[in-house]
Amino acid sequence: MSHDSAAFEQQLSELVDDRLAADAEKTVREHLDSCDECRAQFEAMAAVREMLRVAPAPAVPEGLLARIERAAAAEFARPAAPTIWERWRAPVAGLAAAAAIALAVFAPWQWASRQDAGVVCPPTDPPLAREHVAAGPSEESATDTPVLSDATQLAAAAAAASADSGAAGSEMTDVPASRGRRTGHTSRSTSPAAPEPAAIAEAPAETAPPQPAPQPALAWAPAADLPSASASGPMLGESEHPTVIALGPRTTIDADPSLAPARPSDIEMETAIGVVAAMMLDQFVAEHMVQSSSTLLSVVTDTPTSELGPVLASDEDDAGSFGLCFTDAMRRALTESENRLP
């Protein structure tokens, strides 16, 4: 038995409090019988415990209770201050919509920037995406418009429907992506019934002879779990190629310049991030209601921005920018709420 280990010290402390399990107590006591050093340490701990338990409590200053009661009475007399959530509920309700819009627009803009730089795979999974880039762009992906987030898919589909363009069929494969974020894929296909080639790995055309499925770059799901191809083309929940399943939903619409994603303004992004920050702050306050604002601030500032960024951003640069902006937003929210915290 290593009597120098912290674990053994802890066992001695537990033995002092008679909190050690019977078998462990037997083992420790046997050791103490044969080890003077450990026995001395045990006796010292026991002496400390006894000394502290009988130590007189500090005398409470006279009038302290009366001070507390007066202060509490004054606090009761004050009108109830709204909670942070109550104070922010109305703005949040409005800003949430702005946040959704900003985020929906921001995601495709990110993809557009990436595509401009020659990156052709959607940012579903950065490591695997890089793997695909190394293999070279596919023929089909070279004509792709940016990958849209779910919110953007819905917005784009709604816009297409309302414009009644007639040529744009919307087909969404409601299959969740592997990491919680679902991405869509937009192609220039003008036939909604036409089978869609795989977004990443170059899927064979429907008329092409069957061939063994290539090792899909993004096929992290077990092959046995993937749905089989449908003779009539991919249906909801189905796809011709495993990688399509892995990529998540697909949307086929016409390439309409009016639908081209635009970069959100700084104000829109700050608004969106501010809303998220406010919500997270409110959750913090609810879960750590006894924490002071300074403690909250330390929590925020101690949180690596790299951990905050991936919530919405898809690459390291954006993650860093987002993290910094988020932290600033949290700081502002904390400053505003400082007097509200217990």
Binding site: A6, Q10, A44, L52, V60, E75, F76
Partner: protein, 239 residues
């Protein structure tokens, strides 16, 4: 709830041995009344626990400002009281102690930050490899009640406790001085049970070592200092 209920609840002990059941039940009625807006109920809760909270603050932060911080802790508790719910292992006492420990740790951090900004002073705690060394000089001469407790052991205990790190200090204060059981102390400190045990063992070992130094004369505890080592004196002379 009327005042009569509080009068009845006063008959219940704050603590009977390690059985907090009666006190918790009484607390629950008081808390619910206070949540409904009864200042009297909250006053009764303060009467029950202000001495324990003061003891935690005193042990962790020293006598200086202990009364002010105790009052602030009760105000924080009052402001957060409507969110408190009796669920699972939650008890008002443990919840209140958690507020107290957090407030104390924040106060120690504030003092440390102030020290970082303004530079160290002879009155600030310093952190060493063996933990924190308090060089605060509690103004214990102002109040008769403090003068009355200037027993040698009491002073030495306070001085040595103040040398521990805040987390070790909190574990020792709650378990050995306030006599909470492990589970309650872990809840109050918001840490896993194993962490609490580890901190407690470390704190007891360090306290025992300091106590031995104190008895050997290598650890000096001045009349007006929470704790001062020979090394501190050397640092002081170097300044």
């Amino acid at each position: 709830m009327g005042t009569q209920a509080f009068v009845d609840s006063e008959e219940l002990p704050v603590r009977a041995g390690n059985d907090w059941g009666g006190a918790d039940r009484a607390d629950q009625a008081l808390v619910e009344a206070a949540q409904a807006g009864s200042a009297e109920a909250f006053g009764e809760l303060a009467r029950r626990y202000h001495s324990n909270v003061y003891g935690i603050v005193y042990r962790m932060c020293g006598a200086d400002e202990a009364a002010d911080l105790t009052q602030e802790i009760f105000l924080r508790a009052l402001r957060a009281l409507r969110k408190f719910q009796f669920q699972g292992d939650a008890s008002f006492r443990t919840w209140l102690y958690r507020i107290a420990v957090n407030a104390c740790i924040n106060e120690l951090r504030r003092r440390k930050r102030r020290s970082d900004v303004e530079g160290p002073s002879l009155d600030d705690d310093i952190e060493t490899d063996d933990g924190w060394v308090s060089r605060s000089v509690p103004d214990e001469t102002r109040s008769p009640h403090v003068l009355a407790e200037r027993a040698e052991v009491q002073r030495a205990v306070q001085g040595i406790v103040a040398m521990l790190t805040p987390k070790h200090r909190a574990a020792l204060t709650l378990v050995d001085l306030q006599q909470l059981d492990y589970e309650e102390a872990a809840v109050a400190l918001e840490c896993p049970l194993g962490t609490l045990k580890s901190r407690l063992a470390r704190a007891r070992k360090q306290f025992a070592e300091k106590w031995t130094q104190y008895q050997d004369g290598t650890l000096l505890l001045d009349d007006d200092a929470g704790g001062r080592t020979v090394v501190d004196d050397e640092i002081g002379r170097a300044r």
